[in-house]
């Protein structure tokens, strides 16, 4: 591990994307294939949660273990990993929702 330690948070997010990607094809979730609709869902969500994150980091409600993050920070002292989290996790959620919908439709 060692050298990869600082990418641990990013790798965890990459894992989330990889694990949920089959939902798009196997269950025809059609999330990645509606990029504009996906943007409408993501942009306000990312902005709100990034703002919350920036405030919480400034007040030290939570901090990040320097060992497991890249150290790349965006304006507002926001770790790049957090931005990735706010994009990846909602996508995983949307894929799950749409996959469940397809399954329930078929089960009818």
């Amino acid at each position: 591990m060692g050298a990869l330690d600082r990418y641990q948070y990013l790798l965890l997010m990459a894992g989330c994307l990889l694990v949920t990607l089959p939902l798009e094809f196997v269950f025809r979730a059609r999330v990645w294939r509606q990029p504009r609709r996906l943007l409408v869902a993501l942009v306000p969500t990312v902005m709100l949660f990034a703002a919350w994150d920036i405030a919480a980091i400034a007040r030290e409600h939570w901090t990040f273990n320097a060992r497991y993050v890249t150290g790349w920070r965006l304006p507002g002292n926001l770790p790049i990993e957090e931005l990735v989290f706010f994009i990846v996790i909602p996508i995983c959620g949307l894929l799950t929702l749409e996959a469940v919908r397809r399954i329930l439709e078929r089960a009818r």
């Binding site: 504009r36 996906l38 869902a41 007040r59 497991y68 996790i89 909602p90 949307l94 996959a99």
Partner: protein, 126 residues
């Protein structure tokens, strides 16, 4: 104290109010939503458990900002509210931006094999 706790509760209320007063997608009344959330929480416990485990934490919480209740492993109670707000907000906006009518999704759109209206309504909502 409990600033994260308070913020997380406000976030949940905010998202629910946004749905009830503004977006009115009906998402929270569908079975698909609650099934999806249950699945998401299962995966969240795995991912969040990894992020917050105190033996090698990626994210560390200020003890004063939370209640200190952690379950299972070292996941702060507040993270469940946070996760609810994050996922539900994205899902609500996703549904609010849905195309008016997706032909492929509505059974019986082919006029020659029309299904009962009740089925169509369920298809559009579930």
């Amino acid at each position: 104290m409990w600033q994260y706790t308070a913020a997380a509760v406000v976030a949940v209320i905010g998202v629910v109010v946004l749905e009830l007063r503004v977006l009115r997608t009906g998402l929270l009344k569908t079975r698909a939503y609650w099934v999806a959330m249950a699945i998401c929480y299962g995966f969240m416990i795995a991912v969040n458990g990894w992020l917050t485990k105190l033996t090698a934490p990626i994210v560390l919480y200020d003890g004063d900002a939370t209640t200190g209740w952690r379950f299972p492993w070292d996941i702060p109670l507040e993270d469940y509210l946070y996760g609810f707000a994050l996922l539900t907000l994205a899902m609500l906006l996703w549904d609010a931006a849905a195309p008016k009518r997706r032909a492929a999704e509505v059974p019986g759109t082919d006029a020659t094999v029309s299904s009962p209206p009740r089925e169509t309504a369920r298809g559009a909502r579930s």
